[in-house]
Symmetry: C2
Subunit: 478 residues, 2 copies
């Protein structure tokens, strides 16, 4: 390893940076490789630990390396070919009765099977689970409230949990009233209630394209129609297209995930988000925001839920603890905007109330600070896994594969070359013990047949790496 010159006019830390960049150019260090520890490099280069630390921090700021909690620094991926939206094709979109169930069912059937590498499951918590802390918290709760746990709880949820959630929104400057919040059986029930508040069978619902297939199934279950709006992998929904769609179709409501879309991981900038809310409220079109990934941002700070920009109270926010802490708890919520009364009535009619023990446990988990501590580590782990997954896909998938750069969440959206059918490939991959999510279930009209979604919400290990290599080979052979 080259020495550092203490006589140079460059700062020592700048020389360390230059050294690392040289190693990268020469191929000594490759994307995904771990950098030497601070102590090790300081001793090798005979500079102080703070000097190396300063170099690493600067490289991290530049986006060249990333820190992984309890592990150290890693070199990030050279950017793979970014995903481009193909505008012309998407313009002529029409409302579509949703029919994508059989492939979705096939996917559900296979991805959870033991022994299958779970690249097809979007469960960020798998990357870093708070299970032990939650179990400890629940035990404490259980000894305090055992008798109450077998009684009916309030229909719209435990007051204490509602307060905790409201406080978190208040940190974003959102006037959240705990009394208005409705605790639900996961975000899926929140979305179902929200949609039933504002639309009925036959109505047209605007969705992002691509969008989460669970939404499409819900729209199908309610006999509504989905209208796909072009969505770009970087800044989210295309407002021009939304505007056009409003002119041409009787859109009854929109369901968008402006903060981290699933599957693309796109993030709508704040000013665009404000414009979107203005546009919709001007036309009196309710916006249902699917915000389940909102807390899993990779940037500096959490994006503001769209409801922040609402003036007419026509934005409903749906979210949950399923992507951030405990999917098995089935705990979500709905901030129902002006549809509070309808939302509470629908909650009561469709499932009465939500399990109390999980609510108390989650409330304690937040109050203790454990939830925020966990989120911090989870976000870092996911950001790091994202980079690592992009790097491995770039290395092992065919050259013409296009890869998104997720701004948060736990999945990677990519377009395979040669117009291959990923639904067919899914079966081959399952035979080889690997799951992923085929692209076409993210569109009601069967777009994205050559796309796939791969999860990086995993504990990264050799098996995962081997699966990516194998999957890349399968895509190459398809």
């Amino acid at each position: 390893m080259q020495a550092i010159s203490k006589q140079s006019t460059d700062f020592l830390y700048q020389q360390v940076i230059e050294l690392i960049q040289q190693m990268q150019r020469s191929g000594t260090l490759r994307a995904g490789d771990k950098l030497p520890s601070l102590r090790k490099l300081s001793s090798r280069l005979e500079v102080s630990v703070p000097t190396v630390k300063q170099a690493y921090l600067e490289l991290e700021r530049q986006g060249a390396i990333a820190a992984r909690p309890q592990s150290g620094y890693y070199l990030k991926a050279e950017h793979a070919k970014p995903l481009q939206s193909t505008r012309a094709q998407w313009r002529k979109t029409v409302p579509t009765p949703v029919k994508c169930r059989s492939l979705i069912e096939r996917v559900y059937e296979e991805v959870h099977k033991p022994g299958i590498v779970p690249l097809g499951i979007a469960n960020p918590v798998m990357a870093c689970s708070p299970d032990k802390t939650l179990a400890r918290t629940m035990r404490r709760v259980l000894s305090k409230v055992a008798a109450k746990a077998v009684s009916y709880g309030p229909i719209h949820g435990d007051p204490d949990l509602r307060r905790q959630i409201a406080y978190r929104y208040q940190d974003h400057g959102i006037k959240a009233d705990p009394e208005q919040l409705v605790i639900t059986n996961g975000a899926q029930e929140a979305l179902s209630i929200a949609l039933q508040c504002v639309a009925k069978a036959g109505d047209v619902i605007a969705v992002e394209s691509p969008t989460f297939f669970g939404l499409l199934e819900l729209i199908e279950a309610l006999n509504m129609k989905a209208l796909e709006i072009r969505t770009c992998s970087e800044t989210g929904l295309c407002l021009d297209d939304l505007s056009q769609a409003i002119e041409h179709h009787p859109i009854k409501a929109c369901i968008f995930a402006s903060s981290i879309n699933n599957p693309m991981g796109s993030l709508m900038p704040e000013d665009k988000r404000e414009k979107m809310v203005r546009l919709l409220e001007e036309k009196d079109i309710p916006l249902i925001e699917d915000d389940v990934y909102g807390e899993l941002y990779f940037g500096e700070k959490q994006p503001r839920p769209a409801t922040f920009y609402s003036r007419k109270n026509q934005v409903m926010t749906c979210s949950s603890f399923s992507k951030t802490a405990a999917p098995g708890y089935r705990l979500g919520w709905l901030m129902p905007g002006k549809w509070e009364e309808q939302a509470k009535r629908l909650k009561r009619s469709h499932s009465c109330s939500t399990g109390m023990l999980q609510q108390w446990t989650m409330s304690e988990f937040i109050k203790s600070g454990d939830y925020d501590r966990h989120l911090k580590v989870l976000r870092k782990t996911l950001a790091f896994n994202s980079e690592r997954m992009r790097c491995h896909v770039a290395k092992h998938f065919p050259e013409d594969t296009c890869i998104c750069t997720p701004q948060g969440g736990s999945v990677l959206w990519l377009k395979c070359p040669n117009n291959i059918n990923t639904a067919t490939l899914f079966e081959t991959a399952i035979e080889q013990g690997i799951s992923f999510t085929p692209g076409s279930i993210f569109s009601p009209s069967g777009k994205y047949h050559d796309y796939m979604r791969i999860s990086f919400g995993v504990v990264w290990d050799d098996e995962i790496e081997a699966a990516v290599v194998k999957l890349g080979a399968l895509v190459g052979q398809a």
Copy 2:
């Protein structure tokens, strides 16, 4: 106390019976009074304990006295004026868009308030809660499966719990396949899914009259119409009326609680139940059975769910553990008959899956035998409370009050004299710190304004007795 003659030709135990009957006639013993213990009476009358026991058993068989677990024997109520169905009035029923929400909301708002005597809550578990055993079971489960509890579970529920539930049906000779069962967020979600499997907005749904208001709210939420079918307080739904209704209306589905209707506690005899299923299947009308009170029968054995008589697989059974063990767990299920595929899809679309920890806990609770042991005690307690409540109402309500004889469950349905409006009375009662459920919310057309439902799913104490006395006085003054 009169002596027993050992010279008499009557058996000794017959003399004991005669003695008790005399005491009853003379007013020495009154309905609701506790009989002396076996030992005490045997010593007083100088006969053996088995002789007294035999007398008590015979009186119990005759329905004159009732045993209360861990407490002894009590004298049952002289039969109050039984409730008569008024046929003519109910014949001209028409499908009604449901609109009963504001009174229902008012009731929900008040009955759960602390300090209110909870005669308005139908929560049988309050009479005898398995909370400690369940908490112990959950702690054990928690230490075994903590990590798994934060993962997604199977969409239609934990396989082990589904097996436990299926076994219970198999005991009734019902071919229940664990793979077909769908675990839900309480029976309310099961009912919602079942209804969505077979009907859509605008469809006519036949319901019992009176029926559980939660069903009416659900029908309203789905924009369907309810058609009331006359139901008698003893043997349930009137089949002639059902038959007529089928001729005159396009009934899309029926929701009936043949085993213990809420609020009447009526129980349809087996042969009538068979006829009902035949009639509906002949006309291809799906039957959704609300069986939440099925296990809380007071008779010899559990009534067979209607699905037992199904030949065309067109009966769906909805039930839960909310009325038998733990309402706060929000655990129910749906046996979807031939609509298995639709039911699973709807479950996935509307709430994804059900909380896992409660499912494992309940499964263990059943396997250990604790559930059946608990049910046995709960049934006895409720049967006893039922008798005691009937007796107290007979004593303290105005003379012309008509009272049902519930065949199970935890509520008493009664008709007040003088055409009073129980919705108005509700407000007065709440001011006095007592809740009950006003009759009109049990009908979509606002029938039963002079009826009320009183819960005996309570821990019986002086406060309860005083509340009944006060409520009786309020009815008298109204």
